[in-house]
Symmetry: C2
Subunit: 393 residues, 2 copies
């Protein structure tokens, strides 16, 4: 075949160089990626099926086991963002027609309910407005009533700034022959979570929060109980790409001698994820938890000194990685955010999903989590509060 | 809540630095990523919803429109590999119970058939062994018989090294009120393909082949006809993450003034993809096509001079980016590959899916595509053929 003539030239914008400004990413994520992780992600790549790549994936598995505090063999990273892990968990654990119970107290429960509904599950919900949380008694009552195969709870409800208590929930679930699925995208590394000790069956997180890697990979782990359910189902999961039968082989978790080609994993993303997990391992989880708490408390005090009200009243329920502030009276929240972005190159955000218009959100996660950044955030907010007050006209 | 004690320390492997060897990635992909693209992907990130990020995504859209030779508004990049694009196309276009026709002459058709089956489509197949292709008459006959809503064809069948003729196929599909879905993962930028002129309704590719970006993003485009079908369906697509209603908004393609949060896109991956599309725009598609052909012809002659047989006899049906060689008699193909990897740091691969044990594959794509690399590949193969002949014992 002879080369054909192209019919259209490329738009001139593509002949200009890539431009991206520097930003302080002090929202709920992605957070700034430190040079060490950028450098890891910028290394020349190797093949996704090379033995050295499998070695790096094995390291990642160890790093996730540590970060999650689990000895689960079925531990891996998804080739995608936290939503990929969310869909993977629901698609693999639940079969069409089975019941799922979803705790909704912000956007993440809404998303899981939507995902489960689309794949044909019977979806039941427990509901609170943003900022609310569920008692173990409420959870138990709903489990007894709906007899779900899976219960979803967001540990880090980043849309409301709430860290949900998890103690005892796994035991209650197991009493009702239900698996516990927990979202720790916004909380991992910032708030204590112990997968095995807390009897969590499926736990996932994202790369781009306290781990400070670029978005695009998502650690996930399945307990033996979860594996038993998902590898003894009658129907195939609806997604080939997210089928754990294949993913467990790709990650060397199925005990088979050979890993077969399934999809091409994000090699650079895995380099970066390994580096971010190494940094967490070097620092130590307990240090990371206490450091996030310390910086968050410094930020909370500073915000209260500015006369602002924290959205989550109970300190023990505040997510240390993402702080929510009730929108102060006399201000347009969009105007505050735009002012801070324009004059301080700092990203804060508004609410998300059901919390839009209720809160401002400040995230200081991992590499970004230090008092100097908290002070910078407070100064920017103080400036904006001076400049952006609405006229009373 | 007080910080808890961790129960397990991290495995020592995570306290060692990341190591990855240098490799010549002369297989069917991923290919080597040039420094310019690595640098783009290693830049400090910005938020996935910042206006500058939307600007970069708009550029990517223009770059894809050029690479695909389409003016389709519904053009974007998936947050995932080629399989993500494959699932996205099938999940959005097809509703459960509808008929799909899949041309299988290698692994990619097998994958699409599996994906379509899982989501509840009635799957019909056209079948050839690897290396075979379909005439337009065969395609028309099957369309008339099965009346599918979607027909899948791999333009670059990388498992067999075949570039499939596409001329006229779109017109035949439309005659039977069927949409044409084409996989150009292995062929884009290497072999002529003109989405609009060839009446292709859905076209996708991967980032990690002739575009030379790291794996993890996948350009895709939908014709107006495809949009009409997918935005007028009765049921929601089974995946929330891959729902084009949301993705089209995220990419600013739905005409709405505001882009809403759907998922967190791979910011670094998009930086790298923009750079790779910019390099293609600077070089020009026609130059890229003729350059791949020229280097491939040089490689083919060199392989024949070594006494090897090319798997695809007809030159016009050979994929310029991935060359398949019939496994020479008297050799163990795995031993050849291992020898070349060990002594020359070069990756070639064996077959994939149905072509395993039939072929060796050499890919010279984009940045890797030049005569010096072809000569290096030939020298390595010549050396291996000398060293790896099986004893006749």
């Amino acid at each position: 075949m002879m080369p054909r003539s192209v019919l259209s030239r490329c738009a001139p914008c593509m002949l200009r160089p890539l431009e991206a400004p520097f930003r302080y990413l002090f929202g709920p994520g992605p957070s700034n990626v430190p040079p060490r992780i950028l450098a890891a992600g910028g290394r020349p790549i190797i093949g996704h099926m090379h033995s050295e790549m499998f070695g790096i994936m094995n390291d990642i598995k160890k790093g996730i086991q540590y970060a999650f505090q689990t000895s689960n063999n079925m531990t891996l990273a998804m080739s995608g963002s936290g939503h990929t892990a969310m869909e993977c968990a629901v698609f693999n654990i639940v079969e069409p027609g089975e019941s799922v119970l979803v705790a909704i107290n912000g956007i993440w429960g809404e998303r899981v309910a939507e995902i489960a509904e689309r794949m044909g599950a019977k979806v039941h919900t427990l509901f609170k407005t943003p900022g609310g949380h569920f008692t173990n008694a409420e959870i138990e009552q709903a489990l007894a009533k709906h007899k779900p195969v899976l219960f979803f709870l967001a540990h880090g409800e980043s849309s409301s700034g709430l860290v949900h208590p998890v103690d005892g929930v796994g035991d209650i679930c197991h009493k009702y022959n239900c698996l516990l699925l927990v979202d720790s995208v916004a909380s991992l590394g910032a708030a204590p979570l112990l997968m095995d000790q807390q009897n969590i069956d499926i736990l996932y997180t994202g790369s781009q929060k306290a781990l400070n890697a670029p978005p695009g990979t998502a650690p996930i782990s399945f307990s033996e109980r979860a594996c038993h359910k998902m590898f003894n189902r009658k129907t195939k999961p609806v997604s080939y790409l997210l089928d754990m039968t294949h993913l467990s082989n790709y990650w060397g978790n199925d005990g088979k001698p050979e890993r077969k080609y399934h999809h091409t994993g994000p090699v650079s993303g895995f380099f970066a994820l390994r580096e971010s997990l190494a940094i967490l391992a070097e620092m130590g989880l307990e240090n990371s938890w206490s450091h996030h708490t310390e910086v968050a408390e410094y930020l909370w005090k500073g915000l209260e000194d500015l006369g602002l009200k924290l959205f989550i009243k109970d300190k023990d329920l505040r997510l240390p990685s993402v702080t929510t502030i009730a929108i102060p009276e006399g201000y347009d929240w969009k105007e505050l955010l735009a002012y801070i972005m324009k004059h301080h190159q700092i990203e804060f955000t508004g609410g998300l999903g059901p919390s839009v218009g209720m809160v401002l959100r400040i995230g200081l996660m991992g590499y970004n989590c230090n008092k100097a950044n908290a002070a910078m955030a407070l100064a920017a907010l103080e400036d904006a509060l001076k400049q952006c007050r609405k006229s009373k006209a």
